[in-house]
Amino acid sequence: MGLLSLIVSIPFIALLVILSIPAKYSDRIKWIALIATFIDLCLSVLLVIGYLGKIGFSGALPSPGVALNLEYVEKIAWLEPLGIEYFMGVDGISVLMIFLTAVVIFCGVCASWNHAHRTKEFFAFLLLLVTGVFGVFAANDLFLFFLFYELSVLPMYLLIGIWGTGPKEYSAMKLTLMLMGGSALIIVGILVLYFQSGASTFSFSEIAQAGIPESTQYWLFPVMFIGFGTLGGLWPFHTWSPDGHSSAPTAVSMLHAGVLMKLGGYGCLKTIYLMPHGAMMWATFFMVLTTVNIFYGALVAIQKTDLKYITAYSSVSHCGLVLFGLCALNWTAFQGAMVQMFAHGLMTALFFALVGMIYKRTHTRLISEMSGLLKVMPFLGVSYMIGGLAGLGLPGLAGFIAEIQVFVGAFSDASISHRIMVILAAASVVTTAVYILRALTRMLYGPMQNPEHEKIKDATFVEKVPLALLVFLLALAGIFPGWMIRMIAYSLTPIFSNLEHASLLTQM
């Protein structure tokens, strides 16, 4: 079994083990989940190091070519009547995303250590979900990709429905149906791609090499982009996100906002890769939508007083930046978008973990009811501050690396409309600063108004582990972004080869 299959199957094996344990041994169940996710974390670190070893830390980029530069390939024929294969393999972007997933799920399990209600089922569904997420990033066969994609969306319904708070049934149903609506578009897209390309497999590279007729790309591109964009938080298909994320339990919000929304961005990238003509035609249109995304998310976040809603809307805004970078169809902006996926995953996981921990102590999520908390919980407070600063793009943290590349890249396009949109989007950094700094000052500083809050204790050891890990990685990615950018740049070549080829054709 290859490394990728191992990473994907470990959570699933842990799930089977958990199912065989009676529900009353909740401690054992937690330990199994923790150990499994920890092993996955170690394996994903190995994967990053191994991948960097294979491509070299510096040196030339691969020569132009449409096929993806895959490593750790595993390929077994599966459903032969349709040419479906069990085809695993990673490029730098997927390696980065697998690493992110492993970090976030490990932190998520730590953050839900005190979970008490129907523990067995909770961890079982959580592990099923994460199996799907790993699978999506490792899969290179469109069918397999879609299979894992849906597997990672559906457990959300029960996770939110059973363990959520507030209007959980409504939120869970809305989230599931909207995301499944997105995947309905994707499945149409996959079938059209398969039959129109004439490739006899579902492999990404082979479909891209076979090429899709231009006329098909023109109508299929928006279908698939919206399909993936729904999960990626594309305005106006983002409305599941605030409801879903604010109703979900802590670990689920972390995983969903931190990783699942990245599946959307990742899918959009693949869509651009497969349909370059469609991408060039529709880029400006979607860029307008994503500009609204960035701006609108930040503006609504200013209005909200519930911490989870603030974080959820900031996710909409930040994920908008990912899609914005993609729509710029520019090398630097693509790099920025990918870094933003990584950075936002860490940042949002950190936020949701903190919100969960703070809520457990204060029993409120309204910032108006909190003040002066830094005195009683310095560790949590400082972590929140670092996360916030990363969110508003402070140099030295990961968010800055992402934003600067997206904006510079998108601005280098000569068209005026692009530049105006970049200016608008960049202006939202100010709005972001407003809602983040406001939340920070209200919550952490000033006199303590609620005497109940005097008794609050700071983070326990189990809580400190995930926070420290996330903060460390945010800083690492901010100070030494080289390894990350190397992996991303190495994998962008085929996508750009395809795009350039398409643009040459159009010019002729």
């Binding site: 599966w78 459903l79 032969e80 009547p81 349709l82 069918f143 879609f146 299979l147 894992f148 849906e150 597997l151 559906l154 319904y157 029960l158 429905g161 059973i162 959980k168 049934e169 869970a172 149903m173 599931t176 149906l177 499944m180 609506g181 309905a184 578009l185 499945i187 149409v188 079938l191 059209v192 398969y194 039959f195």
Partner: protein, 480 residues
């Protein structure tokens, strides 16, 4: 002669089995007779299934080409016998319930069902119009009695009456269509008709009449009106039988008399099937959303499911047939798992309302898990079997270039997901009123447990293991 008899050995075996089980029912008015009849039926069906499995599936004709078997017929016969076997096991007369109908007359009940199954097997092999029609009646008439089997229950009466009227009407339409076909071609043998028939307006009229007749059997919208009441009133196991086996027989009928005859008018019937499929899915789904009675809910869900399968009918190539046959296999297991739970719950607690299932996942975690898996499989969630089935159906339509049909199918899959999730919601999320679940812990008798285990395994594995799809494909290549 002997060779002819050996060729129809499967059907003969079924009829002998049916007569035996019926005869056991006359033995004595004692519950032991019920057990005996039940055991004989299970053993006989299992043997027949094994025999079908080992006997080579090659083309073989009997009685001057009136009867023909081959890979595709064997596939369907196996499907019918499995369905009958699983449903017989679900009809196990437990100790508490041996005085209730239908368990009090279990031998008669199973005997009638076996007759219907033998009719289905004959239908698959029929190559002649009269034989086709007779086997169709052999399917329908026992089922009418079965639907009205709970004779003390007015709902069962109503169900029976509705089924009589509608099946008579559909038989009439079908027969009328057949007579036009005969008038056009002067032959009753299917292969001859296939060669002679053209695309004249008369042929199109016959096509429409026959489509309507088949539509009734499939419970396709707008010929579905009998289905919900019949499904709700019939004994639960018969509802399962109707929605799985009887429906599969309807698809066989389609392949024999629509796809087989009207190759020249393919454009007409493909468009017609596509429209019917879309209507069936959409209406079935929209109405299913509001159902709170589990049987009625499953009735509408199975109407919608037939709509999905009809997507595959609109693609006459190999992939279309493969998709239909594979989906029927998948649907057999997914639906019987759901019916297994509903039967068990109705038998043990008398509850049929969806709201009664609140807290079901706490009192019966294993049963709830099976029910959830079957709901997700029916909804088409990967990696369960239902997803593979739907994917291949959609792929078949996409191969024919019917993207609008794929789109209609996927949109309907979302609507369907909504109501399947509602069942999951009642089982897993909703808290029972005043904290006491209405359905207590249920002890599962061994036959039920076996059915649930088998169907669950099938739901999990049929989609993942490639062998099932390859089996469907190789059988579909044989043709009818």
């Amino acid at each position: 002669m002997l060779e002819n008899i050996l060729t129809i050995g499967n059907e003969l075996g079924l009829i002998i089995l049916a007569l035996t089980v019926l005869a056991i029912g006359f033995l004595r008015k004692h519950s032991a007779a019920g057990y005996l009849g039940w055991s004989v039926a299970v053993a006989g069906l299992a043997l027949l299934s094994a025999w079908l499995f080992i006997s080579p599936a090659i083309d073989k004709a009997a009685f001057g080409g009136v009867y023909q078997t081959g890979p595709a017929p064997v596939f369907f016969k196996q499907l019918f016998i499995w369905a009958a076997l699983l449903i017989t096991m679900l009809s196990y007369p437990g100790k508490q319930s041996s005085n209730v109908l239908p368990y009090r007359h279990i031998s008669e009940y199973l005997g009638l069902m076996l007759f219907s199954v033998s009719g289905m097997c004959l239908l698959v092999s029929a190559q002649e119009l009269v034989m086709l029609y007779v086997s169709l009646e052999l399917i329908t008439i026992p089922v009418i009695m079965l639907v009205a089997f709970n004779r003390n229950d007015p709902r069962s009466h109503e169900a029976g009456m509705k089924y009589v009227f509608f099946s008579a009407l559909s038989s009439g339409l079908l027969l009328y269509g057949f007579s036009w076909v005969y008038g056009l071609t002067g032959s009753t043998l299917l292969p001859e008709i296939r060669d002679i028939i053209d695309s004249s307006p008369i042929a199109v009229t016959a096509l429409v009449l026959i489509m309507a007749g088949v539509g009734f059997k499939l419970a396709a919208v707008p010929f579905h009106l009998w289905a919900p009441d019949t499904y709700e009133g019939a004994p639960v196991t018969i509802t399962a039988f109707l929605s799985v086996a009887s429906k599969a027989a309807g698809f066989v009928l389609f392949y024999k008399v629509v796809e087989g005859f009207f190759v020249d008018t393919a454009v007409t019937y493909i468009t017609l099937t596509g429209v019917l499929a879309t209507l069936t899915m959409t209406i079935g789904n929209l109405v299913a959303m509001h159902q709170r009675n589990m049987k009625r809910f499953l009735a509408y869900s199975s109407i919608a499911q037939a709509g999905y399968v009809m997507i595959g009918l609109s693609q006459p190539e190999l992939l279309g047939k493969t998709a239909v046959m594979y989906y029927l296999l998948v649907y057999l297991f997914s639906n019987l798992a759901a019916f297994g739970i509903v039967t068990l719950v109705a038998l043990r607690s008398g509850r049929e309302d969806m709201r009664d299932y609140a807290g079901f996942s706490i009192t019966n975690p294993k049963l709830a898990l099976v029910m959830m898996l079957s709901m997700f499989s029916l909804a088409g969630i990967p990696p369960l079997a239902g997803f593979m089935g739907k994917f291949i159906l959609f792929a078949a339509a996409a191969q024919a270039g019917l993207y609008w049909l794929v789109f209609a199918g996927t949109v309907n899959a979302i609507i369907a997901l909504y109501y399947y999730l509602i069942v999951v919601k009642w089982m897993y999320i909703m808290k029972p009123e005043n904290g006491k679940p209405r359905i207590g812990p249920i002890t599962t008798p061994a036959p039920h447990a076996i059915v649930l285990a088998v169907t669950t395994l099938a739901i999990l594995l049929v989609g993942i293991l490639p062998i099932f799809l390859e089996w469907a494909k190789s059988c579909a290549a044989g043709g009818f």
